[in-house]
Every structure is written in structure tokens, then in C-alpha cells.
Point group: C2
Chain length 357, copies 2
Amino acid sequence: MERLQKLRASMAERGLDGILVCQPENRRYLSGFSGSSGWLLISGKEAFLATDFRYVEQAKAESPGFGVIQTKRELRDWFPGLVSDMGVHKLGFEADFVSYDGHQKLDDALKTAQVVLELEPTTGLVETLRSIKEVEELELISKAVELGDAVFQKARDIIRPGITEKEAAWEIEKLLRQGGSEGVAFEIIVASGPNGALPHARPTEKKIVSGEPVVIDMGARIGGYCSDLTRTLFLGQADRNMRKTYDIVLEAQMAAIEGVTSSMEATQADQLARGVIERAGHGDQFGHGLGHGVGLAVHELPTVGPASTGTLAEGMVFTVEPGIYLPGLGGVRIEDIVVLHDGKARVLTGAAKDLPS
Amino acid sequence: MERLQKLRASMAERGLDGILVCQPENRRYLSGFSGSSGWLLISGKEAFLATDFRYVEQAKAESPGFGVIQTKRELRDWFPGLVSDMGVHKLGFEADFVSYDGHQKLDDALKTAQVVLELEPTTGLVETLRSIKEVEELELISKAVELGDAVFQKARDIIRPGITEKEAAWEIEKLLRQGGSEGVAFEIIVASGPNGALPHARPTEKKIVSGEPVVIDMGARIGGYCSDLTRTLFLGQADRNMRKTYDIVLEAQMAAIEGVTSSMEATQADQLARGVIERAGHGDQFGHGLGHGVGLAVHELPTVGPASTGTLAEGMVFTVEPGIYLPGLGGVRIEDIVVLHDGKARVLTGAAKDLPS
């Protein structure tokens, strides 16, 4: 269990002799358990997965490296005894996931059982490990990316003037799911004309009109791992202004993909694309970051934006998705997934970026 | 805004002159805003909806009763100033939804801005209001229930021996979505034979075999409101044991539906069904509560189970879903949605419960 070893090294750096993990993707990453409820309790030597009666059998099957414990209704009936038996004195918990009330309940259970233990808030411990992908993870992401590419290719034939955004999104979802996607990675965006000016538009009953930009943003999920793909299409002749906007966004995206390195500050990577858009006079119309990590979650570390604080590293997988949003007119966003390998970005996405007319 | 008035009465009872709401269904219930990110700040006199640039236009359109404020990147840049201007001194927050870290950030922002204000943890304030449905809410739930009923009727023709659980679940999902459901209320369960012994089984590649019980659990969503329907089918001749189990579960369900009243303790309602199952010798095999409230969330108040603490009331909408789970053999669960009206349960669900063979 190399992942547990890495986690234990991070724990030791922070002076923790135990950690409690309940964020679903973190839990799955460390244990393999894909159920929707459960706690991991990990010390320097031991690893337990505590879950309720619904998931005990599944937990045993999915998490052979963990001792599986069936939880009882009340936290005090199993939690203090277990951490006490494990000999933990300083227990980290996920401060950005455990609720204020949840922390209170953990604390109360320990006090009631007279177990002396320090609860230490942590953030990003497992998330940081997750940001560097292993070979098998990369394979699953690549499969999800390939499915997205194949579906996009088919979607180009389906998305014709007269179809509504909602209908188009549903056709794409059916193609993804029938192609083997486990659900969809996120709610599909099909945003045409002025609707594309909202980066997170939801599909509407609006019919797609020839010539307007259509932003399509979709992701598959394979073996738990996500893909994320955005393309902007024009059905028929695009007007000169939108065509120019498209060229700027594509230039910005290529500048980032070609310029990013494995040791760059995330803000620098963002600036590679942002600089192009700023110089073209559209800086104010690129209101989000360049990209985000993709893995078990569709948004995870690294965060690549103007306010990021981290540094990129070999093995990171993230999106490169600059956009320009023109209120009342429409938007253009182009998004690929890249992995940092041999010092630079290797593009996983294969979907065409040509302007078809 | 009757809902805000009721909330303000609850706030006053708890000595709060302001409340911060960010749980998505609570936010939508109070403001109408259906975006995925934002905070409501409500005092005795004012009501604001703070959200980021992506959602400002949507917020203005959906929440006319609220002053819409565009948030800035850092909490300290908008939050302390706003609560201070509102004259709030004791601000409730959702302690079971705001993370430990989120609370810390709220507190830090106030301290940095030297705004003196008490942050008071609250739980269930809005959820309790939501548990009593208004006429318009009941109409939307009824629409979602009707769609579930219609889809179940069609599904009976689709679910034949040889189809896999996954295929069946996908066919049901397509029927729901094409029938107007906004996504699905939850991941559809199709659990056949031994798989049905897990109350929360996920559909597998297992083919459905004639004669075994098939548990189907699905829900639609209309106008944000959910339905939730479980039926247990037998394709072909059920064996005597399973048939008997079915009869016990149905008897338990009918006992609860016929016996429940609008002023009963939730535990008593649970016991109406549980008693039947216990007397039949299957008490240990009914490992979950009788039901749960249904509304904007598919699981909400009231909780109706053996450990519930609340009392039922007129206007509550909840599921009645006893089950018996026989490891290695299969499960039977039958679930309707009821509303408490004129002192007793009115069943909203219309799907047939006959054993077809």
C-alpha cells in the first residue's frame, strides 16, 4: 500500500499519529472502498474502515488492506474505543469536510468515553497525494478521456440547428452512458449563443441557431476516474468577431500547453494563457482560472488560476481551459486534459479543435 | 414571503437576530435560487443572497425578494461588512453543513475586520420548516410521484428474465428523464435475487432470473421536488417463502399507512410496521427505519425510525417503506409516499402492489 506509506509520511511531518478520513474520494483513494458512507482510521501501523451494516460486505471485498468494523448508531459506541485501542494521541481530521457539528460530536464522544486525544484539523493531506497520478490512475483517466473524445465526435453529427440545448445535452449523456461511463462526471453543458456567456450555463429549451457559438462541456467516468472536455462549435458560418475570439482562446490554450513545465508555479501556468487573452484586450472576460486537477473528482488539486499558491509537479493531471465570455453575444472555451510528464505537458485529449466552417 | 416570516419566528425563539444559510436545499427553499453556490444572510428585516459572478444574473431572476450581492474572492472582503451593515449581533449558521474550517474562516474574517458578532451553531432550523409542505410543494411532489408511477408501469414490460440489473436501471432512468424528470432523484436500484438482500444495492451486471424477487427503487424530480418509489417484482412464479415474505412486508406497510396519525410520535409510526414484522419473526431483518421525509431533498425531515425523536404533523410528506432482507436469498421492500392530511395518511403513490404471478 504505497499510498498509505505516503500518507503516513505526511502525517509524521505534521506530528500526527493518526488520521480520520471520511471525504468520499479520499476514502476511496486510500482504501478502494466505493460505498457512500464510512470512516477510515489510520495510524502509523494500522488501518481500519468503519462503516454501517449496509456496506460491511462491500467494504471487506473492496478494501482487503483494512480491518473492517461495523459502526453502531452512536459515535461514542465505537469511535473512542477504537482510537484508544490503536494508541492514537493526536488525530488529524479533514477540517474542510467534517462539519462544525461533526467535529463537536467527535469531541463529545471522546470526552464521554474519557479518552484523552487531541483532534487536529488538517486540510489537503490526502488531496495532495491524489494530485500526483500513478500509472493505473492515468490509464483510467485516459480511458475516460477517450470515451469523451469518441462521444464528442458523434455529438457533432447530432448537434444541428433546431435541436434544443437540453435535447443535445441528453443525447450526449446517452452516448456517454451507453459507451460505458459510470453516470456522467458532471452535468453536461450545452450553451448556445448568448447563453455561452455564462461559464456554468445549464442547458435550456433554447434551440441552437446556425452560426452562433455552442459551448459543449462534458465528462465521462471510468473506474471512478473522470474526464473533462470542452469544445466550442459553430454550426454554419461564424461571424468575424466570434471567429476572432475563437482564435484568441485557441492561441491562449496552445501557449499554456506548450509553455507549461513540471516545476512551474501554478500562477505562472495560468498567466501563459491569460497573457495572450489580456494582450488581445479580453482580460476582463476570462473570469475563471486556467484549469483544475482531474481524477476521482472532476475538480481536485492542482488548482491552476491567478490566485493559486501551489507549484506544479510531474504526474499531475489537469485541465487547460481558457475562455472568453462576451455578455449578450456568447462564449468560447476550449479545454483539454494534460499530464505533466518528462518536464512538460502531454495532451491526453484527442478531440478536434478545428472550426468546421 | 411566508417562509421567511416563519424562519424569523424560529430565529427569535433562539435569540438570533441573523442567520447564514448555505445548505443548497435550504437556500433554494427560502430564496428560490437554484444555483450551486451562494449564501443567504437574513436578519429580522433584511434578506440578502450573496453569490459569485457566475450566478449573479440567475440569482436576481430567481430571488426577487432578496438583495443580490456579488461575493469577492476572500470572505473578509464582503462578509463582515455586510453583517455589520445589517446590524446583526448573534448570527446563526448551519452547524451540520458548514465545515469546521468554514466556521474558522467566518470567525477569522469577522475578527480581521474587527466586527464583534457571535456565531451561533444551529441545526435543523430551515429543515424543520421544510418538513411541512405547502400546497404548491405538494403539487410538485405529486407530479414527481405520478411520473414515477407511470414509469414503473412501463418498466414492468421492460424488466424480463435475461436483462441485467444495470440495463434495467438505465431503461428506467431513460423513461424518467424522457418523461420530464430533472435528472433522477437518486441512483436507481434494481436488485435481483440475493442482491436484494442489501437495502442499498447498486445495479450489477447480474441477469434477472425468473422467479426471484427484484427490488426496484427509483425517484423522479419535478420543479426541484423528488419522488421515491419501491416495488418488489417477481418475474414468473415466486417461491412460497418469498411470497410469504412479501405478504408480511405488505401487511406491515398497510398497518403503518392505516394506523399513522398526524400527532403520533415518529417512533410509534415506525412501530406500527415493525410490530407486524417482529411478530412474524423477521424483526432482525428489517434493518432500517420505516421512512423519511421527501421534498427538495430525497431524504429530509421527518425521520421515521426506531430511534427518531420527533413528532409527526399535518402537512408532512414521507415514505412508508418497510423491508425484509434475507441474506443469500433476497429482499422485499414496498415503498409509498404519504402526506398527513386531516389527521391521517393520504397515499400519493399509485403504482400497483399486486404480485403479478
